[in-house]
Assembly symmetry: C2
Homo-oligomer: 438 residues x 2
């Protein structure tokens, strides 16, 4: 048997995911070597504090605070520090040295991806980041490789487990947002400061990455319209449920033609109604899933664990073995294609169906007035449903009107809602939510 080559692996960061990656690199060394054709030797772990408590017991001599030196001597660099700096500088330095880089840093990729991709291109090495989107789920490689002969038309993703857990709790138990958030925090599904999750920022970074790969064009955070779930109420959820829908926070990237006939991609994150029979509606708890529509393949869905140290480590190691095999085989790494050049469309150009809840006066002719107003704004109504409530004590009647529209532009819808508010028969607009999958 010929002597196996050894590849030096530098690990930057030793949190939740990093510690598991280190553990597996050590424990599964033989199996990984067999699959790679080279031994993957963990040469060191760069951390801020070498004496910090870790979840996993790891050899103390591996730890160092000198990330720069560690990177210089590595064939493969795994960056799991998070944040922009020093991660960005270290990755660029690794790529320039000809090392392949594996990262899970979605914020950095969404903010400054193009700089990194270009550096990898120049060096002819691989920059992989499967762990950055939807944790353990193999989604970026299938989009990049398996669907490279197809045209993706739309991506709908549940890519944030915290918000999916919260919305699922609200849907199952009828809880208000604040209570469901508290429960998520108690169970460790939400951080003490949940802003990045509940405001949709985490999902927005993932949406930018998904859009870039799906449409062969580089989209950044500035191209993503982002709304979180903090304003979703228990009564929104109940009304949606009653109408046969479930509310999910979706990362959406879809090819659209705007009113001027210009083709572009709308990238956005917002709470969305989905029919209960839609495959994404069955994604419960902290699970993630990405639903893809492609011209030839049709509908595809990828489902699995979107977070957690061990599941995310699986994605990191898949990238690592793939990059290492390429080093063993020889020949340059494969990088992304960005030949699409489709423009990002502003949110106003996006079209979806809408669900609108209205508290209206209970008098004849109200439905006709509202329908007329929608028609004037070019928004076509698919379903209109009125429910009359009578208060047992006061004997006062109130009417609730629920409308689901056909696809309309954000701009047309916004104008319609403004006009509806001005009608004297309207007491209040109780909810406006986008609908997908109908």
């Amino acid at each position: 048997m010929t002597e196996m080559r050894t590849l030096k692996v530098a690990l930057l960061g030793c949190g939740n995911v990093g510690a598991q990656v280190a553990r597996i690199l050590i424990e599964d060394a033989d199996a990984l070597a067999a699959r790679t054709g080279a031994r993957l030797q963990l040469s060191g772990i760069a951390v801020r504090n070498v004496n910090a408590d870790r979840e996993v017991e790891l050899p103390q001599e591996l730890f160092t605070t000198d990330a720069e030196t560690l990177v210089k001597d590595a064939d493969l660099v795994i960056e799991l520090m998070g944040g922009i700096e020093p991660a960005r500088t270290l990755i660029l330095s690794a790529l320039r040295n000809g090392a392949c880089v594996v990262t899970g840093n979605k914020a950095l990729l969404a903010q400054d991806g193009p700089t990194l991709y270009e550096e990898a291109d120049k060096a002819g090495v691989q920059l992989s980041y499967e762990a950055a989107v939807a944790g353990a789920i193999p989604i970026l490689r299938p989009i990049r490789d398996s669907l490279s002969g197809d045209r993706i038309t739309r991506v709908l993703g549940i890519v944030n487990g915290t918000t999916n857990f919260i919305l699922d709790q609200m849907d199952t138990t009828g809880a208000q947002f604040a209570d469901a958030l508290a429960e998520a925090q108690r169970l460790g599904y939400a951080e003490a400061d949940p802003t990045a999750d509940v405001e949709g920022h985490d999902a927005a970074a993932k949406a930018a990455i998904l859009a870039s790969l799906s449409f062969h064009t580089r989209f950044g955070l500035e191209n993503v319209h982002c709304e979180g779930i903090t304003s979703v109420t228990a009564s929104d959820i109940a009304a949606a449920k009653d109408a046969g829908f479930v509310i999910k926070l979706l990362a959406i990237a879809e090819k659209l033609v705007d009113e001027e006939g210009r083709e572009g991609v709308s990238v956005r994150v917002h709470p969305t109604l989905l029919p209960r029979e839609h495959p994404l509606a069955a994604v419960h708890g902290a699970f993630n899933a990405v639903f893809i529509e492609a011209e030839n393949a049709g509908e595809l869905m990828f489902y699995g664990q979107g977070a957690g140290g061990t599941p995310t480590a699986s994605a990191v190691l898949g990238d690592l073995v793939s990059a290492a095999r390429r080093l063993v085989l020889g020949g340059p790494g494969r990088t992304e294609t960005t030949t699409g050049h489709v423009p990002a469309l502003p949110i106003d150009a996006a079209t979806t169906s809408y669900y609108i809840g209205l508290d209206v006066a209970d008098q004849p002719g109200v439905l006709a007035k509202i329908a007329q107003l929608f028609a004037e704004h070019g928004v076509s109504i698919e379903i209109m449903r009125q429910t009359i409530h009578r208060d047992a004590e006061s004997n006062v009647e109130s009417a609730e009107l629920r409308i689901v529209t056909h696809r309309a532009s954000e701009a047309a819808l916004a104008a319609t809602v403004e006009a509806v508010k001005g009608l004297d028969v309207i007491n209040s607009v109780t909810s406006v939510l986008r609908v997908e999958g109908v």
Copy 2:
């Protein structure tokens, strides 16, 4: 702009999938070139009859009956003829010439895969076959690449659309197998001779391919235990439904330890009960899905269209673009790893839970007798449920007993069922079905 290289693509076969592949290669030539970095020029289509009617209008001059000559001059060969010969000889000849090969030929791969893989290894070229399993769903590449740093422990696949359609019809409408099959044939989901589908042979070939990739070991058809769905009755389905299960034909590959402590892989295809809340239970109609359990990633599911010309063409073209990009970049192709060396276990060594339906005498002590007998055979009962029916006219009572066991070996279960049949309180064993996902 530098001149783009042209790669010659030979297409062998022009059926359902082949015709769509040819159409897309011609219609999407520019987009494919942009993504590949080379023009993919369809140099010819080998068919038996150049004048046959085709679903898609294609340039007549592309057609030839001389597959050998076409293959000799190609950089990339797409084999979609099906069957063993001449497909096998043509693929081997293409690989020896240094061409990359894309095929969807599951029968050939399951029967003679090792010969093909070795030839590709020797030539340092790519042999890809994503289309061979689960049509449009990217499943082989995620297993091979994305999960290459993980250990897969179990694969459960709905990989045959015909049988899934039939079982779904039976579940939804209460139809008998024969009627559901007739409906599937009427709608084009089943062939006039449905044997390969309903007897499980198609699923068995896919099970062998999935097992080989998942466990880094070459498994052939001879390692797959195969049972079809022809003996599944409407009353099996009804009883399963009543107990909260759905019946699916699953292709299963899982790592097990047999009674002698020997680790191995059980590869099998059989009708299987799944709890209705299992993600695979929601896979309806002719759709396919593959559910994977891995040590680190946890549970993953891949869902999409498993057949049809255009969806399957998407998988073929994904492989083609990937192989062509590698030719453009230089460096050898990537081949499978077969370093696992785990033995295939015979069906007797497989362990699952079982569902057993019994028609029993309605007298005291029956349950105790049966429970005693199961215990003696080392099969542990999880659920035991008795239903008494009284015939309104005759006033005769009969009792139905349904048992779900804990995991037990096939051998232990078979012995138990034999023994149960000998009990005087048993009128008949109405069904024995395996259960997964509990």
